[in-house]
Amino acid sequence: MIASFKIAVRFLKSSRGQTVMIAIGIAIGIAVQIFIGSLIQGLQKSLIDSTIGNAAHITIQQEDNDQLMADYESVIDAVRAADERITYISPVLQQAALIIDGDQTESILIRGFDYKRANPIYAFDSRFVEGRLPAGANEAAIGKELQAELSLSVGDPVDITITGGTKLTYTVSGVFDLKVQSLNKSWFLTTLESAQDQLDKSGLISTIEMQVDDDSVFQVDELAVQLAELPDFSEKKLIQWKEQNEQLLSGLNGQSISSLMIQVFVIVSVVLAIASILAISVLQKSKQIGILKAMGIRNRQASLIFLFQGLILGILGGFLGVALGLGLAYAFTVFARNPDGTPVVALLIEPGFFALSFLIAVVASSLASLIPARRSSRLDPIEVIRNG
């Protein structure tokens, strides 16, 4: 085995130009595969992030949509105790309302939050364009779209009408931008207490919203099923983000598959290229193999020479490819930037994926060397000795 390795290394060294060419070929293939993979993964991650990064992953409400929840604190405790993957839990009382301003009518959604609990989910703190979160009983924060429609500013009074015709008056405490137009237009933020008071829903909430940790966002369906099994959850309904975003998910899925296909074809063409070059090299070296066999090298040793060449080329090409892929990814994030300086696409640089690509390079080139290895094993020395 060591003899085969030594001979393999010497063969590679003595045709240095060819060795470098093959290694670069493998490297380019692997770099492209890494780049595409990281690009698509990064793209998907940022899409997922912007979709659910600051939104509820699972919400709990009464089965009957009109019903409100009174026992919410005990439900929250039960959920918190049930699973560690749930990181933030926040109760909300919400109700639809209208703002009538002359002949202009805006429909809004009053959302009463307990900000201490809601902030980790929605990051409200950092979303204010002007002013601050509502604090007192008659304060409300509005989105920047609604503010524009109604030309309101911080400190202005705003009248709303709830179902049944009741009119309420709030003072604008701040203007937020949640980066989602529909929310900026409709959400009307108050404190939970104030909402319960003003809407005459003392001790009641509409939904419990929660987030799970980053690693578990794709397990929410399984988690929701698990939570539904909890005692006292028989009249409750759980909704998770995946069922609300089926189209997004199937889009991502399709994208993943096509990216995988591209990666597979890149690798296949690399394998074919290496295999054909090594097949030629076994022809070039058939005289040497013949001599070695006349001197008593065993067939297995003779085939190992080519397997080792494949392995070494794979390791060389793999290293180069990972380096090149990283360089490409780095260049892409540095040079392809939006006007505001953020990268166009934040590539996902995952060590595990790079390690996998390296492994693929090694395995693929070892596989590619199987055919020449076989040929080398089968070569009959007499052919070489006889024909000079």
Binding site: A3, K287, I291, L292, M295, G296, I297, R298, I382, G388
Partner: protein, 231 residues
């Protein structure tokens, strides 16, 4: 004396559709430690015979016995091991590995067997290089040496495993007459020193006449077999 190589009714037929019989029922044996020549016209079947004796080729019919062991039932790998330890080849054309230096070529049979040659084998390799007069160029790539130097390297390589038999196919074929004499003298010296059996194919009558036994092949048959009487 012990027979180190024995051929019984060895025939060789080349080709499957168009058959050419090259060797006809050859019965031939060689004594251990002897120094022999095989002569014959071009195309008479000398190389074919030698390749069969060296287990590189198999006879169409008949048996080859090396050192008392019949080779017809042996597997490829067993034959490879037998060649590695028992037979040293010097081919008509030099057949060195161009990727390796002269010294590395000489050590190659030992590397094949032991992966790493022992200090003693390495010492022996240096000795052999001295014996064949190549100590100055032993670290040159074999492809960067003259024909005679390559041939002498091949001789050193054939000797590295201290084989019982050396099969040499026109080892002096493309050398000038002075070098031919040197190479011949070297082989004779090795035969004296290590008691190695030599079977040398040659066109050169003068060389043949210096050996102890001459076997002449004609059209695939033994035409003449003379042994010099040792007194």
């Amino acid at each position: 004396m012990d027979k180190i190589i024995q051929l019984d009714k060895v025939s060789k037929i080349y080709g499957t559709s168009v058959k050419t019989q090259v060797l006809f029922d050859i019965d031939l044996s060689f004594d251990a430690q002897s120094f022999n020549a095989i002569i014959g016209q071009s195309g008479s079947g000398k190389s074919t015979l030698m390749n069969i004796m060296g287990t590189l080729d198999r006879p169409t019919s008949g048996d080859v016995t090396i050192n008392g062991t019949r080779t017809d039932g042996m597997k490829t790998n067993e034959l490879a091991a037998l060649r590695n330890q028992t037979i040293g080849f010097i081919f008509q054309f030099h057949y060195l590995l161009p990727e390796f230096t002269a010294l590395e070529n000489v050590l190659m049979p030992a590397v094949i067997k032991y992966n790493k040659p022992s200090a003693e084998t390495v010492r022996r390799a240096h000795e052999l290089m001295e014996l064949v007069g190549l100590e100055k160029v032993k670290n040159n790539l074999s492809s960067k040496m003259s024909g005679g130097q390559q041939q002498r390297t091949a001789i050193a390589r054939a000797l590295i495993m201290n084989p019982q038999i050396i099969l040499a196919d026109e080892p002096t074929g493309n050398l000038d007459s002075d070098t031919t004499q040197t190479v011949y003298g070297m082989m004779r010296q090795i035969n004296d020193l290590y008691r190695t059996t030599f079977i040398i194919i040659t066109h050169d009558r003068k060389i043949a006449e210096m050996t102890d036994r001459i076997v002449e092949i004609k059209d695939g048959r033994i035409n003449l077999d003379v042994t010099r009487s040792t007194t």
